[in-house]
């Protein structure tokens, strides 16, 4: 797939397949096209050319009316968490469930939200508002919201960018757990330490081009470091 903004090519002929149960890091210098690639997967934008398929749904071709259907298959985590400040942690997670599926009752939404919060280690903070939580805890709530509907794909854009190193490791542990449940997880990050030490699959983008796709266990020197 490719995506251009005017004459500038943000993603240039990238061919990438994510596998269930696999945690993949997307690395590259700023402006390499990482965020654009994530937005293509979530159908926030369409590719200029090429195809994007999520769990069999052609994201590049679907009508606007079916975008919501596709997005229910893709959990999204942001650097700035994007939690609703007026809602508690459990309400934030349940809100994501119910706006996506009106058939989910309050009781079911609350139960599933509490389960998700339990899974990310925040079972006792369900009634806390985002402002009462640390950055790492807020990111955990955001992850719980992203996975509560059990999407087959989870994408995260610099999820540890606002967190200290210890908290970043905790978040990465969570992503490993989520991948272990069978979800295809793609994490865009600048955190070299985490990427090199976890030894997971690493996809490197430079100036929009996929320059290296290193399988898990074979992560050597970050190719993009040489060009950044």
């Amino acid at each position: 797939m490719s995506r251009a903004y005017g004459s500038r090519v943000a993603v240039d002929d990238v061919d990438l397949t994510l596998h269930p149960g696999e945690l993949t890091f997307l690395v590259g210098p700023s402006g390499a096209g990482k965020t654009t690639l994530l937005r293509l997967i979530n159908r926030e934008i369409r590719p200029t050319s090429g195809e994007v398929s999520v769990a069999g749904i052609p994201a590049h071709a679907i009508k606007a009316s079916r975008v919501a259907e596709l997005r229910r298959l893709v959990g999204v985590v942001f650097q700035d968490y994007k939690l609703l400040p007026r809602l508690t942690a459990v309400e934030n997670v349940a809100f994501g469930l119910q706006v996506a599926d009106l058939r989910v009752s309050d009781e079911e939404a609350t139960d599933r939200a509490l389960d998700a919060l339990e899974a990310v280690g925040l079972g006792d903070r369900g009634k806390s508002f985002p402002g009462q939580l640390s950055g790492g805890q807020q990111q955990r709530v955001a992850i719980a919201r992203a996975v509560v509907a059990q999407p087959p794909v989870l994408i995260a854009d610099e999820p540890t960018g606002n967190l200290d190193q210890d908290t970043a490791w905790e978040i990465m542990d969570l992503f490993e757990d989520i991948a272990a449940w069978g979800t295809a997880v793609l994490v865009a990050t600048h955190n070299v330490d985490i990427v090199t030490r976890l030894q997971r699959r690493v996809v490197t983008l430079v100036q929009g081009r996929l320059v290296r796709d290193q399988p898990a266990g074979q992560t050597g020197r970050m190719a993009w470091l040489a060009t950044s």
């Binding site: 997005r71 298959l73 994501g96 009752s105």
Partner: protein, 315 residues
């Protein structure tokens, strides 16, 4: 052992309840909360819309009144009332009646007695009180002449106005060019009214769109999250349409009440002062006008919201 058959009705009913409750909370509850939270930015829009809708309602009622006047005038334009002296003899009146009846330019002639004239006057708003205010019957007998071609009205008038049986003070109802002048005036008023309504509509839509735009801005994070977790388009847009409808409905209700109040007051005032400010406008018409203003407010609010959403919210 045979097991119990579980009837599927309850789960379906339960599902319906769940969907209805979620819709009520997410669509209407969310809209109402957001509307209340943004009352500061919504209030000016609400007042502007109420004022504009009130003016639209009054313009509409005026148009209704003018249409009634035009219709009455159109039906009367080719009808010439020839007023008879109170002391005119029956033979002379019959002779004039016969001359007019046989005139090829005349479609028909009817003799209206003083009593008939009084009875007719009593059906016209304001006139019954006037008629009862005097002891004697002030309305003259007349020959009502229906002329085939409105252009022959002047000739028929000239034919009868010097007759001995005709009232010399006010011989006929003929007023040269009155109908044409009225038509020209009404056309001008209609054009001006339509232009004014168009302007009011444009201002009202712009004001509402700005209000909704600020609501979208205030809730941009929520919108982003809803879109990213897979909320359908109508689920994202619905609350804003409801919010617009709330603003429009409230504005419409205020304007509708004011329209009804002013129109009803005009009807009552006209009845008391023997005059008719707005021909055809009754309390019922005023109520219908008020209801239409409320509906217009709802449509304006929700329609403007939809228009804003199409412009300012990506799918």
């Amino acid at each position: 052992m045979a097991g119990d058959v579980v009837n599927g009705r309850f789960p379906r009913r339960r599902l319906f309840q769940v969907v209805a409750a979620n819709l009520a909370r997410l669509l209407f509850g969310g809209a109402a909360r957001s509307w209340a939270r943004n009352i500061g930015s919504t209030a000016p829009a609400l007042c502007s819309m109420a004022l504009l809708l009130l003016m639209s309602g009054l313009v509409g009622l005026t148009a209704f009144t003018l249409r009634n006047v035009e219709q009455v005038q159109a039906s009367q334009a080719s009808l010439l009332h020839v007023y008879l002296r109170d002391d005119a003899s029956g033979v002379d009146v019959s002779a004039l009646f016969e001359r007019l009846r046989t005139d090829p330019r005349v479609a028909g002639v009817a003799y209206v007695t003083k009593e008939d004239a009084l009875a007719r006057a009593q059906t016209i708003p304001g006139l019954p009180q006037l008629a009862q205010a005097t002891d004697s019957n002030p309305f003259p007998a007349s020959l009502d002449v229906q002329v085939k071609n409105i252009d022959d009205m002047g000739a028929i008038d000239a034919l009868v106005r010097d007759e001995s049986v005709v009232d010399p003070e006010q011989p006929t109802s003929y007023d040269r060019g009155a109908y044409q002048r009225l038509q020209a005036v009404l056309f001008g008023v209609a054009v001006a009214g339509l232009a004014f309504l168009g302007l009011l509509g444009f201002v009202a839509v712009t004001v509402t769109m700005n209000s909704v735009k600020s609501a979208i801005h205030a809730r941009r994070d929520e919108i982003t999250i809803m879109q990213l977790v897979g909320a359908s388009r109508w689920m994202v847009r619905g609350p804003f349409v409801v919010e617009g409808a709330i603003t429009g409905g409230l504005s419409g209700s205020l304007a509708g009440l004011a329209t009804f109040g002013l129109a009803a007051a005009a009807v009552a005032l006209g009845s008391e002062s023997f005059a008719q400010f707005a021909p055809g406008v009754t309390v019922t018409v005023a109520a219908v006008a008020g209801a239409l203003v409320v509906v217009a407010g709802l449509a304006l609010g929700s329609g403007s919201s939809l228009l804003t959403l199409r412009r300012h919210m990506e799918s």
